[in-house]
């Protein structure tokens, strides 16, 4: 896989990166550049496709093929590109506004079709490029420029939305942990089908510290569970906290007298019901966030099916012959 021997800098374009100093986007950019040195994909086969927003300037900074498209439509452009040429490794870059508001329709349908693309959703719970309006992931009641008395909109949970749309790969990671992010990107690349990665990302200007308790190095270990497949869900600074299943609910417990390691819930990324609980959990007050691959299932990809159907029809009807088509049906001669 590493015979290509790319260095991280091979994926950096010659353009000045124009994000605000301190923006979470920098570490995401750096992580993808690192991840691509590990995926074994040839540089010319990599394409970054984005919509509109701060996140969507991303392709300009990658030394791959890149297309900065229009607001919300990146999933559609990426879908067409992958179906047209399944050999390409397509990375779709989007933000919470781009993806879940104006692009909501295309987002769910790309997931539904299971097109083999990798989607990176930068979630900072705010509109950055349009300068600070609430987004579909903003907390209800949040005061922003377009909601001076608090936003009334209920909040979208991107993971649950993806789950409902039939996603075959749902993963969460955070901008302040480049190593985890990189690992998740490499994992996502291996998955055949739409890989949905939600990155909790900070906006220093309009929504600073929006995920702080979950992402801050000092506090996150008490508020975040790093999931690993077939491993008990254990967390906390001292490693003294864990997750158990009680009835149909998850519960945070302290490991000690009452609960032992063997009582903890073991993560199974192929277990759909468990994934649903994990995706739903942090809506409940004070619950930790789950990072890592929350759900994965193997299923046929749309792009493979398109190619297979063409082969099937060719086998049945023979390669298309235009002259034969022209003369099919009733043809008559005038002398």
């Amino acid at each position: 896989m590493t015979e290509l021997n790319y260095k991280k800098k091979d994926f950096a374009s010659d353009q000045d990166v124009k994000w605000c100093p301190g923006c979470g986007d920098y570490s995401i950019l750096s992580s993808l550049q690192m991840a691509l040195t590990k995926t074994g994909t040839k540089k010319e086969d990599i394409v970054c496709v984005s919509g509109i927003g701060c996140s969507s300037r991303f392709p300009y900074y990658m030394n791959t093929y890149g297309y900065h498209t229009i607001h919300g439509r990146a999933p559609a452009v990426a879908s067409g590109m992958k179906v047209a040429n399944p050999n390409l490794s397509v990375w779709m870059i989007t933000g919470d506004g781009d993806c879940l508001s104006i692009g909501g329709n295309h987002f769910i349908h790309a997931l539904r079709r299971n097109i083999d693309i990798n989607m990176l959703l930068f979630n900072n719970q705010i509109y950055g490029l349009t300068k600070g309006q609430f987004s579909p992931t903003s907390k209800q009641g949040q005061v922003t420029k377009s909601s001076p008395y608090g936003s009334l909109d209920r909040t979208f949970n991107p993971g649950k939305l993806a789950f409902g749309a039939g996603a075959t790969y749902i993963c969460k990671t955070l901008d302040s942990d480049p190593k985890h992010m990189t690992d998740m990107m490499v994992e996502a690349d291996k998955h055949r089908g739409t890989s949905f990665i939600e990155v909790f990302q900070n906006c220093v200007i309009f929504n600073n510290n929006c995920h702080q308790e979950y992402t801050d190095r000092k506090t996150r270990s008490d508020h975040a569970v790093y999931l690993e497949h077939e491993t008990p869900m254990k967390f906390g600074k001292e490693g003294n906290l864990g997750i158990v299943l009680e009835g149909l609910k998850l519960k945070v417990v302290e490991i000690g007298d009452k609960y032992k390691d063997q009582d903890l819930l073991v993560h199974d990324k192929h277990n759909k019901m468990l994934s649903y609980l994990l995706l739903s959990s942090h809506e409940e007050n004070g619950f930790p966030k789950f990072y890592g691959v929350i759900y994965q299932e193997e299923d046929e990809t749309f792009n493979d099916q398109v190619a297979a159907q063409i082969e099937q029809v060719r086998n049945k009807k023979g390669e298309g012959d235009f002259n034969k088509l022209l003369f099919s049906g009733e043809v008559w001669e005038v002398k």
Binding site: S13, Q15, K42, K43, E44, D45, I46, V47, I52, P59, Y60, M62, N63, T64, Y65, G66, Y67, H68, T69, I70, H71, R73, P75, A76, V77, A78, S79, G80, M81, K82, V83, A84, N85, N87, L88, N105, H106, H109, V306, Q309, I310, Q312, V313, R314, K316, K317, E319, G320, F322, N323, L325, L326, F327, G329, E330, V331, W332, E333, V334, K335
Partner: protein, 615 residues
């Protein structure tokens, strides 16, 4: 029957009309196919309601199919109807206005019941109140005759009733000396797996034919001799199929995969249906979640090196507007088909209009020029779809091909072209292999003459580049907010489209190169306009026709043509869109003739208008 028993006619127009479940489209198609096989030239037009099933027996539910067949060249489905087949009172009421005085009505008397008349909003039975005295009426109890014919057939009542359209067809076949064999063959093929249905339909067809034979004493029959048609092999084709085939062929000629992203909309959907059938040509059809996704996935496929196509109608094109602008600024090949219908908004989904020219020219933000073509008749759609693909690929630009509901659904015979000779190669700008030295490659670099860039696609080593909707530096292609550069780029994109004139044919003129009146038309009105012009030319009027198929850019010789006529008239099925473009561009004086009824032009109304314009 001796030749004295029938009247010889140059051409005949029949309209089959009934309830939208009565199978009128099928009946009309059979009649026109048979006529074509018998050597007539034909043109057809289906006219059906926008609702899948409007209430039975009402005027809203009337479905029609008009056939024009003749011994001379037939280009339109005809103005006035010579014979109206009315399977119920609503069909009579809805269509009587189109029937010429003295024309024939075939009325299904079984349907003229109290209830049927009431649904059609008749207070009296028109078959009994003398209101049809100007016409020749053939009364036929079609429902009961059909059931009587099928008395001994092993079919349920519902299926028996559905055979009545073949009874009506049988009557028409006798009246116009049509051969019933092709239809019998067709029925046998169609109902191969259901022999009872095949036998029932054939029996009903023959029964109708024989019924008409017994009416010989009271009704004249008609004969339309074979047309003098250019020798060659022919087939029937409608505009949407013709369009779809044009793209299939263009992809082969360009040696590129064909990709269609589309969202269903009347009257464009049949292009999607047709291309979906031909997966063995390698065509990829993507039925998207909405119009925007449809064009965006096509853009993705185009960026990946496919001949990319999206098909829609006016409201869908409105939604695609932003993405069309993106393709303009990407300077990438993309074909957009707009099968126009009545607007604005949802407008008249199943009726024709040509009111999207402004939308094609201006319906985007910013200065966003693209190439615009318009097909003139059903079989021309093939050629223009091929042309649209050729120009998109050769000029790295979106091309909008305008057709309309009238030519998209209309059928006519098509002399099958020698595609290996005339539609065999489209050269384009795709960099197929990575060059040895890729240093200094700039995706934006333009050909000096055509101003066209190269088409570098993902998968090609060393040509990695980034393109976006943001303005690009003229030299490097990088994002640029420089004001002077924006003007330079705006002009470059404009100039690129203007230079397409060197790659399109000169404007044709039908008639003398100077005269009293020049008729300027475009798109799907060609048939009617040409017939009207020809008729006046025969009468000695100094009139010529300039029918435009290349609308942006306009062919070079157009100003010269315009200069040589005393008067110019521009008939359009809109409020005057092309005329304003010509006035603005060439400062000419011209008269508009505009019709916005969701209906095509009649030859007779055009003749009248052209005469008026000369006086």
């Amino acid at each position: 029957m001796s030749s004295n028993d029938h009247i010889e006619l140059e051409s005949v127009v029949i309209r089959f009309s009934g309830d939208s479940g009565d199978g009128m489209q099928l009946t009309g198609t059979q009649f026109s196919n048979t006529s074509a096989l018998m050597g007539n030239d034909i043109s057809t037009f289906p006219d059906y309601p926008a609702e899948i099933r409007a209430p039975q027996g009402t005027i809203a539910g009337v479905s029609g199919f008009q056939v024009h067949f003749g011994s001379n060249e037939v280009i339109t489905p005809g103005d006035e109807v010579d014979m109206l087949v009315a399977l119920n009172p609503a069909a009579l009421k809805a269509n009587l206005g189109s029937l010429r005085k003295g024309g024939t009505i075939l009325a299904n008397t079984d349907a003229f019941t109290y209830k049927g008349l009431e649904k059609a909003t008749y207070t009296d039975n028109p078959l009994e109140d003398n209101s049809l005295s100007d016409y020749q009426v053939i009364e036929a109890p079609i429902d009961s005759q059909t059931l009587d014919t099928l008395e001994d057939h092993e079919l349920d009542l519902k299926n028996k009733k559905r055979c009545k359209n073949f009874y009506a067809l049988g009557i028409c076949y006798f009246l116009y000396h049509r051969d019933i064999t092709p239809t019998i063959d067709w029925i046998n093929e169609k109902f191969k797996k259901f022999p009872e249905l095949a036998q029932a339909n054939i029996a009903t067809l023959k029964s109708g034919y024989h019924f008409a034979e017994t009416l010989e004493a009271v009704v004249s029959t008609y004969k339309v001799p074979s047309a003098k048609i250019t020798p060659g092999k022919y087939r029937q084709i409608n505009g949407n199929t013709s369009t779809a085939w044009g793209f299939l062929r263009a992809a082969q000629a360009a040696k590129l995969p064909l990709f269609l992203g589309s969202y269903p909309i009347t009257p464009a959907t049949d292009i999607l249906h047709e291309l979906s059938k031909h997966k063995n040509f390698g065509v990829k059809t993507f039925q998207a979640e909405d119009e925007i996704a449809a064009i965006c996935c096509s853009i993705g496929a185009g960026l990946a090196g496919n001949l990319a196509l999206t098909t829609s109608s006016g409201p869908g094109i409105a939604l695609k507007g932003e993405a069309i602008g993106l393709a303009v600024t990407y300077e990438m090949p993309l074909v957009i088909v707009n099968v126009q219908r009545g607007g604005p908004s949802t407008g008249l989904p199943t009726k024709t209009e040509q009111s999207d020219l402004y939308q094609a020219l201006y319906g985007r933000n910013g200065e966003a020029p693209l190439i615009i073509l318009a097909a003139s008749r059903p079989n021309d759609c093939f050629h223009m779809a091929y042309e649209a693909s050729r120009l998109a690929l050769q000029h790295m630009s979106p091309v909008m091909l305008l057709t309309d509901g009238y030519i998209a659904n209309g059928t006519e015979p098509w002399r099958i072209p020698d595609v290996d000779k005339h539609y065999n190669e489209i050269k384009h700008n795709l960099i197929e292999e990575a060059p040895a030295n890729t240093d200094g490659f700039k995706w934006i670099e333009r050909d000096e003459v055509s101003k066209v860039r190269k088409w570098a696609i993902p998968g090609t080593k060393g040509l990695e580049h980034r393109i976006g909707g943001l303005e690009k530096d003229y030299h490097t292609g990088d994002v640029s907010y420089d004001p002077i550069n924006h003007e330079l780029m705006t002009n470059a994109r404009k100039e690129k489209i203007e230079r397409v004139v060197d790659n399109i044919p000169e404007q044709e003129l039908e008639g003398d190169s100077s005269g009293d009146l020049l008729v300027v038309s475009w798109g799907g009105t060609y048939g009617a306009v040409q017939m009207a012009v020809k008729q006046l030319q025969k009468e000695g009027v100094r009139i010529s026709l300039m029918h435009m198929k290349y609308i942006n850019p306009i062919p070079k010789n157009v100003p010269t043509i315009l200069k040589n006529f005393n008067r110019i008239i521009v008939p359009e099925l809109n409020g005057g869109q092309l005329i304003n473009v010509l006035k603005a561009k060439y400062s000419i004086e011209a008269i508009g003739y505009n019709k916005m009824q969701g209906l095509p032009f009649k030859i007779s109304e055009l003749v009248e208008e052209f005469k008026k314009a000369i006086q």
